[in-house]
């Protein structure tokens, strides 16, 4: 039966949201029906619960982690369920009339039902974590409910503060619950409840306690977390009535009560909970007096009453716990009715400001009467339920629980707070309903519709009945609840109106008379004063909280983000280098690594000379890169050349060939790009003139560079002078010819042993080419590099100035002889590419080298003839080549599937062809063909896409100029 409590409202919520928004009645009926069903089910379950049974339901969620969907209903949970469901039925009924016709009610009721479900979940959870889940759900849904009228700034702020506070508390509570789970070894509530001693004696008890209290106290709006609650009043009144009577805020005290057997009774508990409770009790009541907003008054009164319950729970005596539970119920009844009454007043008169309201008894006598009874219950007037629980509270307050100052103070504080309660209750009644007839109300007040008042009537009746014959009405239910909390510790108590003349009665009397007196003393002040209590008015919790939140979560966060982070590249690079240095150095330093001895013997002078040149190139390139770009590029070429010779020297011709080819293409590429960079003229840069910061930065970078260079040097030296371990290379050497079918082991590795790498690598090339192509299609050169280069302009001008020269003669002449040679080079590079390709498997070369070589042939044509010239003659489809290349390579690899082998299994054989003779027929050749095609396509595409910018730019330039001219006209 238990899942009904959760499922029905949630499902109802999902259904209701799809109701048309003008169907206020139907929506309310539906929601009400669901609430009613829940209530009836609760009622039906009473006999079982009353007999001491505990209803359980369990559904596996994450059994491994001990988190299950466990529902559990004992007396206490039952009492709460009954309260929640009953009040929700009433609130739905009330809201049906309260909500305006234009309000999007489906959303309201959907959220309402969801909230009810979450709240039921909290009280019915049989698993601590599940409880936390529902706990946070109530926070989230209440956020949406409070912000229902989200076009109002107050509603938004109220909702946000509520969520921030309760959510924060909930997260802390979760940690507390997790620790409890760890201590106990289970999250199951029964197990937890049975292991109170283990928890209380655990060293982490205080941590757990504080974390749990952070959850409970924020939720219950206890000092100093109380301030979210008055702001939550921005919600529609039915929501307030619901949230502040039976649910939400009660969740906090529910948790305290639920875990009371486990957590209570220690000194820490007493101090923390008691102090928070007492402060809240007093301050809440005091603040309530000075509110001008009806709902504000009720809100602070709620805070105060919750403080009262908290104090009761803090005392640690079973009898106090009984009183707490009792007061929970009582408070729910009178507070719900009061909120509804306030809502009616607001609804009918158009304002909630008590300075403007008076004499409403005249217009709405029934409502007034009802409100008066409920207020009296709130004030603790005898014969009403509030009185009973308050008497119990007084009785407990004067008992001595622990000998300390707090305990001594309790009765006095209780009396004073009670006095304040009388004052604000009286103010609520007297100020609003009596006095002169109101003037200038937005609406002319009258009695509300019959059924809008019905819930209030019902609740007030309950106050009365319980107040008069408690033992017969609430008694059994209360007993069931109390037994389920206290078990064997359940004390003897009597629910009676009259306990004889005793101290509590005197305290009540003092409070009553004092409160009445206080009200009449302050009456005139309150009638005109501004909102909020004197002195404390300046100390607005919400304001402070907002400020703190804004400071912490916005201002500080922003400045922290800016100081901890950066959006500039250089510092980021710096960090990468630094961390890499640290990562490289630390293991060696910490491990006490010993550097290998320096071996100077056997140095080839020519090689040394070569590297002197290489290093000079590298350093020179670094030095020149800022102002002499061309020089830097030339020097870079030099460094590349030295690298290439080194590869040859160290027996790696394949690398040398590839490096060389790539080098050439890269140079052309960067030169193509150089045209679009801004002119950079060397300023007379005097090092002395530079600010210190710059010089320091350069020094730092220089040092980092030296460290990085030194580091790689040392590591590479250390590894290179070490004997070669048993590597996988020997496997390749053994099998390259016999199984891979090629004598060039490097190439066999590339196309066979590790062909998959090559496939990935050409895919990278393909991707980059596509990216470059796509990006350049959207390329917008900067205005100053848009026009043709200066040289061309001068040369074109020269041609134009001389009548016998056609445009473009200069360039034609310039390239006349070179282009003849360059044109003939095209077939020759083609042949070279074919040569490199075909010999690849046995000798240095291969598809990649061939592809690059061929693409250089193409570039040569572009350089000699220009883009248009070439493209008029050769139809180039680099995209197609790339696609085909990649597909051929993939398909070759997949071909081995046909023979039942894994991808890329190569089949190598030397076929004997007529005339040609022995010919290598490895499937790897086909793979290499794919590589060739792709590399050719990609390289050509990249270079040509860049080259095309020069053709596009003048057009763009002309367009821009034309547009400008038209704009001027």
């Amino acid at each position: 039966m238990l899942p009904v409590f959760i499922l029905a409202p949630f499902a109802g919520s999902l259904i209701v949201i799809f109701f048309p928004s003008d169907q206020r009645g139907a929506t309310a009926w539906f929601a009400g029906a669901i609430a009613l069903v829940c209530f009836l089910v609760t009622a039906g379950l009473y006999p079982f619960v009353a007999s001491g049974g505990v209803l359980r339901y369990q559904l596996d969620w994450i059994p491994e982690l001990g988190l299950n969907f466990t529902l559990r209903m004992d007396g206490f949970a039952w009492l709460f369920s009954a309260l929640i469901t009953a009040i929700s039925v009433l609130v739905v009924l009330y809201a049906r009339y309260y909500m305006a016709a234009d309000d999007p009610v489906p959303r309201f009721f959907a959220l309402f039902l969801a909230f009810m479900a979450s709240m039921l979940g909290v009280v019915l959870s049989g698993n601590l974590i599940l409880l936390a889940v529902f706990w946070e759900l109530t926070s989230i849904v209440s956020f949406l409910l409070i912000g229902y009228w989200h076009h109002n700034a107050h509603a938004r702020d109220g909702a946000r503060i509520a969520l921030t506070m309760t959510g924060m508390g909930g997260l802390c509570m979760l940690v507390g619950l997790l620790i409890i789970g760890r201590i106990v070894g289970s999250y199951d509530l029964d197990v937890v409840l049975a292991s109170g001693d283990a928890i209380r004696n655990h060293p982490l008890y205080l941590t757990v306690l504080i974390l749990l209290l952070l959850g409970a106290l924020t939720k219950s709006a206890q000092f100093p977390f109380h301030f979210w609650l008055p702001h939550a009043m921005a919600a529609p009144t039915p929501v307030s009535a619901y949230l502040h009577s039976a649910t939400m805020v009660k969740a906090g005290v529910f948790l305290l009560a639920r875990l009371w057997p486990v957590m209570a009774g220690t000194e820490a508990w007493f101090w923390i909970v008691g102090l928070a409770g007492l402060t809240t009790l007093l301050l809440g009541a005091y603040f309530a007096i000075f509110q001008q907003d009806l709902k504000g008054l009720l809100a602070y009164s709620t805070i105060s009453h919750l403080g009262l319950i908290t104090v009761l729970l803090s005392l640690g005596s079973p009898l106090a716990a009984v009183a707490a539970v009792f007061h929970i119920v009582n408070h729910a009844t009178f507070k719900a009715s009061l909120f509804m009454a306030a809502g009616i007043i607001d609804h009918e008169s158009g304002t909630r400001d008590m300075r403007r309201l008076s004499g409403l008894f005249h217009y709405m006598p029934i409502t007034a009467t009802l409100a008066m009874v409920a207020s009296a219950a709130m004030a603790g007037v005898p014969l009403l339920n509030g009185f009973l629980s308050k008497e119990m509270f007084f009785a407990e307050a004067i008992e001595t629980h622990l000998v300390n100052a707090l305990d001594t103070m309790t009765p006095y504080v209780a009396t004073i707070a009670s006095m304040f309660a009388v004052t604000y209750s009286l103010r609520f009644i007297h100020g609003v309903f009596y006095g002169p007839l109101p003037k200038e109300l937005p609406k002319k007040p009258h009695e509300p519709p019959r059924w809008m008042r019905a819930p209030v009537e019902f609740l007030v009746l309950a106050c009365l009945v319980v107040g008069i014959i408690p033992a017969q009405t609430i008694g059994p239910f209360l007993h069931t609840a109390v037994v389920s909390i206290l078990g064997e510790r359940t004390p003897q108590y009597s629910l009676a109106v009259w306990h004889g003349w005793n101290i509590p009665l005197i305290m009540s009397f003092v409070a009553l008379s004092g409160g009445v007196g206080l009200y009449f003393l302050m009456r005139s002040y309150l009638a005109t004063s501004v909102e909020g209590p004197p002195v404390f008015r300046l100390l607005q919790g919400q304001r402070i909280f907002e400020r703190v939140l804004v400071t912490l979560s916005w201002k500080w966060a922003r400045s922290l983000e800016q100081s901890l982070g950066t959006r500039r590249l250089q510092p980021q690079m710096c960090f990468v280098v630094l961390l890499a240095l640290a990562a490289g150095a630390l293991p060696l330093l910490l491990g006490g690594f010993k550097l290998p001895p320096l071996v100077i013997r056997g140095i080839d002078p020519a090689f040394a000379l070569l590297w002197v040149i290489g290093i000079a190139c590298a350093v020179g390139s670094a030095y020149q890169a800022k102002f002499h770009r061309l020089a830097a590029l030339v020097l870079l070429g030099g460094a590349g050349l030295v690298t290439c010779i080194t590869f040859v020297w160290l027996s790696a011709p394949d690398l040398a060939v590839t490096q060389l080819l790539v080098e050439i293409v890269t140079t052309v590429l960067i030169l193509l790009g150089l045209r679009w960079l801004p002119k950079r003229i060397e300023q007379a840069e005097d090092v002395e003139d530079l600010p210190l910061r710059i010089r320091l930065r350069r020094l730092r970078d220089f040092l980092l560079a030296i460290l990085a260079g030194g580091g790689t040097m040392l590591i590479s030296y250390a590894v290179m002078t070490r004997p070669l371990p048993d590597t996988i290379a020997s496997y390749f050497l053994e099998r390259a010819y016999t199984e891979g079918g090629g004598t060039n082991v490097v190439n066999v590795i590339l196309v066979d042993f590790r062909g998959f790498d090559t496939l990935g690598e050409i895919a990278v090339l393909c991707i980059v080419a596509l990216t470059v192509f796509a990006l350049l299609l959207r390329f917008r050169p900067q205005a100053d590099s848009l026009e043709t280069p200066e040289q061309q302009r001068v040369q074109n001008a020269f041609d134009d100035d001389h009548p016998d020269r056609a445009a473009g003669d200069s360039v034609a002449e310039y390239l006349f002889v070179p282009s003849v040679i360059m044109r003939w080079m095209f077939p020759i590079t083609g042949l070279l590419a074919a040569y490199l390709f075909l010999r690849g498997h046995d000798l240095p070369g291969g598809g990649f080298a061939a592809g690059i070589a061929m693409s250089i042939g193409f570039i040569l044509q572009y350089m000699s003839g220009g883009t248009r010239w070439v493209e008029e003659r050769l139809r180039i489809h680099p995209l197609r080549w790339m696609s085909i290349g990649l597909l051929v390579a993939t398909a070759t690899g997949a071909g081995s599937w046909l023979f039942g082998y894994p991808f890329l299994t190569s089949h190598a054989q030397y076929a004997i062809l007529p005339i040609v003779g022995k010919f290598p027929l490895a499937s790897a050749i086909l793979f290499d063909l794919g590589v060739f095609s792709l590399v050719l396509g990609a390289t050509v595409l990249i270079l040509i896409a860049l080259a095309h910018q020069s053709v596009r730019a003048p057009r763009a330039h002309a367009r821009a100029a034309r547009a400008e001219k038209e704009g001027v006209r």
Partner: protein, 538 residues
């Protein structure tokens, strides 16, 4: 039949590769066609990934099914693909995200530039390759493939923001790639192998000096991965780049950082696991420190973000930090939770990235600035006329709002969705460490981690709350955005996946637990890779 299943393992790499290649020459005017083919390919990959996950969950640990020897060369000589629960899970996740992003892109974003679908397919191929490969150099190749495609996709649509962010992104990652190469080659130079499993077996037997060199290599390699994973202070490029990317691209990028994490998980547990001798647990404390700093920085960034895109970017950091620290703390119980968190947070952030653009479509930029400044100075219009009649929310906004709420709940780890389950699982793993006494079993680092986890959730809650209120509740002059069904559906599907994950948390967690157990048993794993038989019975 067995054979067919066997080749299935490479489909997630090959199919996108082939489709991506085939789509290149197709005219850009047929974008829809390209998109459909791309979608079909991803769908197949997704199905295959599902099947693989089933295989991995049931019989995946047999060398006959989970190991694919490319070119029929046995490990450690050839390249092998290794299927286990972790890689299968990552494949599924990637394919799922990719599907969503792809559908989303077809509404409008794929028209922002050329070759979107090809690049997208190639990105998937790269990602899947990185997840499957068991060879560190091959990992480099796939890393580069994935990165190259991500560069292309980040720049998709061009524009100053993207290009600026892209420049930083590319520069940093190129530097990181150099580190990657140095690290890999150093490891090879000392151990003579490139296969991860083989490395794991070799490490224990190395001489101390050699082992230190391997550690150096691994540490340098680690920096390369951490750059990708977004650890502070290597991650400043990330939020701008992710915020600048087009939404479908950003959605897939959410999984990109996870590749870094994935590799760290892989190598950390395989190579520096229990069998590593003196190197066991190498670098853990650094991961913990870095991870925590990353969480803190991410959370601060989340709070400080004005724009949702940046917020999402910082959320990525939070998620990375959480995972890094969880890995570093190295408690066996946490690992399963961390893996669950990985999946959940990736799905969430993806959904959020997709959602952001839809939400922001109808917004007025000026109103934003005003709202921000008002908030910054704590000013509120106290005297605003209160009108206590609700305003109906247009259907589109309602759906967007709902999605946003779900995202907020997921990001901040609030119950009941998977974000919460994940955090709970991590925390529970942390608290449930062996050791009789909780106070001594947990170190200061553990407690700090707990605190950061909670605080980061709180930061996300506050920030999402703030931005959500500003967007959905306080928008002064917003027009209802035009949203296509194929744009909102992916968001809903991703969020539904999160919800599903929350509901099915039990089975999911069992899977994660099994995954974690696999990871913690490196010996078994390397045995499995190295003993796989060759096809053709050799």
């Amino acid at each position: 039949m067995i054979d067919w299943l066997h080749h299935l393992l490479i489909i997630p790499i090959l199919l996108p590769l082939a489709v991506g290649a085939a789509l290149i020459p197709v005219d850009e005017r047929n974008r829809m066609l390209k998109g459909l083919f791309g979608f079909g390919s991803t769908l197949i990959v997704f199905v295959v990934a599902m099947i693989l996950m089933r295989i991995a969950a049931n019989a995946g640990n047999l060398p006959e099914t989970g190991i694919y020897q490319l070119g029929n060369w046995p490990a450690p000589f050839g390249i092998v693909l290794v299927l286990d629960r972790l890689s299968a899970m990552m494949l599924c996740l990637t394919a799922g995200l990719a599907l969503a992003a792809q559908v989303y892109s077809m509404a409008r974003w794929h028209t922002a530039g050329h070759h979107f679908h090809s690049l997208f397919q190639l990105l998937i191929a790269g990602l899947n390759g990185a997840f499957l490969t068991g060879d560190i150099f091959n990992l480099f190749v796939f890393f580069e493939m994935m990165l190259a495609a991500s560069y292309g996709l980040l720049l998709h649509g061009s524009g100053p923001m993207r290009v600026k962010a892209g420049l930083h992104y590319i520069a940093i990652n190129l530097a990181a790639s150099s580190l990657f190469l140095i690290g890999v080659s150093l490891i090879y130079g000392v151990t003579g192998t490139l296969n991860m499993a083989d490395l794991a077996t070799k490490l224990a037997t190395l001489a101390p000096q050699n082992r230190q060199l391997v550690e150096t290599g691994a540490a340098i390699l680690g920096i390369a991965f951490l750059v990708k994973a977004g650890m502070w202070p290597l991650s400043f490029w990330l939020p701008p780049a992710y915020a600048a990317a087009t939404p479908p691209v950003a959605a897939v990028f959410a999984v990109l950082t996870k590749v870094g994490i994935y590799v760290i998980v892989r190598l950390h547990f395989l190579v520096f696991g229990a069998t590593a001798g003196a190197s066991a647990g190498f670098g853990q404390e650094w991961l913990v420190a870095g991870g925590m700093l990353t969480i803190a920085f991410g959370a601060i960034g989340v709070l400080a973000s004005q724009a949702m895109g940046r917020l999402a970017g910082y959320s990525v950091l939070v998620s990375s930090g959480t995972l890094l620290a969880a890995i570093g703390l190295g408690h066996a119980g946490m690992l399963a939770g961390a893996l669950f968190y990985l999946v959940s947070s990736t799905l969430t952030i993806s959904a959020f990235f997709l959602l952001i653009e839809l939400v922001e479509r109808g917004r007025d930029a000026g109103a934003d600035v005003l709202a921000v400044t008002m908030e910054a100075y704590g000013d509120f219009d106290e005297d605003e006329e209160e009108e206590e009649v609700g305003v109906a929310i247009p259907g589109t906004m309602a759906v967007l709002g709902l999605c946003f709420c779900l995202c907020a709940v997921l990001l901040s780890g609030l119950p009941p969705l998977s974000g919460f389950v994940a955090k709970f699982a991590i925390l529970r793993g942390l608290f449930d460490m062996p050791g009789t006494d909780l106070t001594t079993a947990m170190s200061a680092a553990d407690w700090t981690y707990v605190m950061l986890l909670i605080l980061s959730g709180l930061a996300a809650m506050i920030a999402m709350n703030r931005i959500g209120i500003r967007t959905f509740w306080a928008s002064i002059e917003g027009t209802v955005p035009r949203v296509f069904v194929i744009e909102i559906t992916p968001v809903l599907v991703l969020l539904a996946a999160c919800i599903f994950l929350s509901l099915q948390a039990g089975p999911a967690m069992r899977y994660m637990q099994a995954t974690a157990d696999d990871l913690l048993n490196p010996l078994f794993q390397s045995e499995r890779v190295l003993s796989a038989p060759r096809a053709g019975g050799q």
